[in-house]
Symmetry: C2
Subunit: 502 residues, 2 copies
């Protein structure tokens, strides 16, 4: 997931100067409210060497009342600390009610540096994950807001920054041999980080990946994320209170809204998709025939080796799910696969846990099941249409990850597609369908209604891709503006995933 | 913990006949309420071969409306089932809203039979624990009531039952070679069961151990446990509803109270303590000197080997905590240990998570910390006096277990004492203190107030012993009616625990 994030995002000086004053006022106000409400806050900064943790922490605390927070730089444990359980030094630093504790690096050291350096065994860092999740859960259940940042830069950018620091006599001491060693191990650290985010990205203590190449962009994102988290918590607390007088401003209304450019800082994987990808008809036909043949022989192989395969198709209306599935199955032995179209749940399905109906369709080992729409409906249509509560879809990311981990633990090959087209292309296809007699049935009022909610869906899709794009079940975004290109990419992705497993 | 349970408890025929009619009416009524409230219910029966699962399930379902439940006997997975993730066959059997699913054996097969038979790898059954906890948590969060029974009999009792079944031509087929094999592996299964209960005894899906030697006793306990769980859930649901008309009986008041002998079926570890244990003064003095000397040399050894030791002292007022601690430390090097007396939390402590103040006192590796009263205050005095909410102390068992697991993961030797005396002995000691000028300060109004709540405390202590007596941090109940005996047992227990670790 980390590798798919667009690290080139930046923010103009002008826009930055416009945004910051309001954000600074806001964070100060929220700090005062948090104190009145006795809300403890934990903010964790993790990230690559030279990714700007120090700078960002400095900017964040400037508008804060210094009596209300404390910054803890976390280094290698000292003698006192090594002689106690690794969480000891963090438990003792948890903030009192109404205070903010800011960690410059944190307990995650154990599953990053200490793991890679092998100063702890695999068993130890595996246990550390449990310990960390329990630690954060206990604090969250006790009322703490936990905000975790991963400052992300590329290996190239890191090298550039190290070199720049070294070139200057005044800062050259800051780059150590250890820093360069970590730089050489960028790939290893990347994988460890990916796993770290996956295993600790809970609804009670979620991670935010910050694109940190542009310091201005990163600053605004850190502020906006903290403001959002605090605002949500304070609003929830106020909704629970009988008497609401404390945390309000003079006008008598709570004022936690930051409207200005709020959503621009949300990481968008869709935003970076290159929709111009295409392929010639001739090339398409050759490859289609070739890949369909390959897939058919793989179908037999997985049957013999008893490997289960699940293919999930999600995507915009008219993005071509049906067409892609048709090409996937075009040359398959029908005894080996099944296509499950998912619509609104029926009464019996509604009377169960929302994942129940999908468990009913899990393929036997050796078989392929293709879902045309999936359990991701929970965090897409059910979220947007309000068919479930906010709490329901927010916790669904974890539930879905747990289910997919169960499946992959069993050895299932899981391939997840998001078919992506532009809003304009969707309009064009809707119109084409209207005008083509044999396609007209495909288009309904609902399609148009959904399109009006394009932006809300886009936000939901981006959050879904980030929170459920795991190492064991990654997403593949299929550029579907060209149907030919999309079909070939879909086939090829399935072939690669299955071959890798074999 | 399982080994400490008194399996000889039984119930007279007369008392059984008196209790059952009300329980049967009650469970039937609760089933109807559950249906109206669309409450899904899962009841799991696990236990030793021939422990009476079938009989108990039959008795439980007799008073139920057969249209509202289904019993699932879980055998070895068949071909269809083996070809899917192991939870598949259970997910698909989860009850619809308002229905009851009863499992005769369950998903726990994986961490019992399949683990011991080695048909799954250690990695697999370890993962299964995560999968099981996620599964149960997801269902509980979706509104399911989950009730889990472990039917417990001794190895001897099992042998007797197998032999009896075999002796009868009509039932001899029921005892298989596999049953006898499992019987021979009783000890291995016991340890696996202990771990299973420990790792899956969550507040959302708690285990109840049923002493199953007496079928009458077990029947009543199963009924009462199910009634309590359903009543609690239904009351919580009703408290959350604006409109409460549905689940009430004709008199207009909810009637879920089963008063009759309810608490007799709660497992009591205190109930079986032999308080007559004693030791002569001479013997005491010899051993005291010997053990104190041993402990002193162990103190140096743990210092050299950097092993941290934590000793927790809990017990009734006037049970002799102070005296025991004095003898523990009597001959120790004061640089190597510390005694932390725990009273009511101060303001700073109250402003943090309740475990924070204890984390502040965690010993360095190589040192001993003795807590005079401990974090167990959360589930004792805070529970009884209402200093925290029901939800708070109920989730504290898991929080405490997690903390103690963190400590033992680090290599800490953790020794936990409950000093036990009878209520009569306590009275005697209180009076003695009153009459001895230099001891009078020890006795306060509060002591008398606490004694009035003896029964409530006893229930809380028993629940604490059951839910936090883990393999990594077991409780030692010290029979303290004789102070000499208690002090020697305390010393000896610490010496054994430390020596074992060395």
């Amino acid at each position: 997931m980390l590798q798919d994030i667009d690290l080139s995002v930046k923010l103009g000086k002008q826009e930055y100067k416009q945004a910051m004053p309001e954000l600074e006022l806001k964070i100060g106000e929220l700090q005062r409210q948090a104190r009145l409400l006795k809300l403890p806050v934990i903010i964790v900064f993790e990230g690559w060497g030279a990714s700007g943790k120090g700078t960002l922490i400095n900017r964040l605390i400037l508008p804060l009342d210094p009596r209300g927070f404390k910054v803890y730089p976390i280094l290698r444990p000292n003698e006192e600390e090594r002689l106690r359980p690794f969480l000891w030094r963090f438990w003792t630093k948890t903030p009192a009610k109404g205070r903010i504790a800011i960690f410059d690096r944190s307990w995650y050291r154990r599953v990053l540096v200490e793991r890679i350096e092998r100063s702890v065994s695999k068993e130890e860092w595996n246990k550390a994950y449990q310990e960390i999740n329990s630690f954060e859960r206990q604090l969250a259940e006790d009322g703490n807001v936990i905000i975790k940042f991963w400052l992300h830069i590329s290996k190239k950018e890191q090298k550039k920054r190290f070199a720049k620091l070294e070139a200057d006599d005044k800062s050259s001491w800051r780059v150590t041999a250890e820093d360069w060693e970590h730089h050489r191990q960028y790939r290893q650290y990347l994988l460890a980080t990916e796993e770290m985010i996956e295993r600790t990205n809970t609804h009670y203590a979620p991670w935010t990946v910050v694109e940190a190449k542009s310091v201005r962009f990163a600053t605004v994102k850190v502020f906006e994320t903290a403001i959002r988290a605090l605002t949500n918590k304070i609003e929830a607390m106020e909704a629970n209170r009988q008497d609401k007088p404390v945390a309000q401003n003079k006008s008598g209304k709570p004022s936690h809204q930051v409207k200005a450019r709020q959503d621009k800082s949300i990481t968008s994987l869709l935003g970076t998709v290159d929709l111009s990808k295409t392929i010639s008809k001739k090339n398409y036909e050759t490859k289609l025939a070739q890949y369909q043949k390959e897939l058919r022989s793989l179908e037999y192989e997985i049957y013999l080796k008893r490997i289960p395969v699940i293919i999930l198709c999600e995507g915009w209306d008219a993005a071509g799910k049906g067409g892609n599935i048709k090409r996937l199955t075009g040359n398959l032995d029908p005894r080996g696969y099944e296509v499950i179209p998912i619509g609104a749940p029926n009464d019996i399905e509604k009377a169960h846990h929302y994942l129940w109906r999908f468990w009913n369709h899990i393929p036997k080992a050796g078989h392929i099941t293709i879902f045309d729409r999936t359990w991701y409906g929970r965090v897409l249509v059910e979220r947007i249409e309000g068919f479930c509560s906010d709490q329901d879809w927010k916790k669904a990311y974890q539930e879905i990850n747990e289910m997919e981990e169960d499946l992959t633990n069993f050895g299932t090959v899981l391939v997840k597609f998001w078919l992506h087209i532009s809003k304009e292309e969707q309009t064009r296809r809707f119109e084409e369908r209207e005008q083509t007699p044999h396609k007209k049935w495909k288009i309904t009022e609902e399609d148009y209604r959904n399109r009006e909610k394009w932006d809300a869906y886009k936000e939901a899709v981006d959050e879904m891709l980030l929170k459920t794009g795991t190492t064991y079940a990654p997403w593949t975004i299929v550029e579907s503006e060209s149907k030919y290109y999309a079909r070939i990419k879909t086939l090829k992705t399935v072939i690669d995933a299955v071959s890798k497993r074999l």
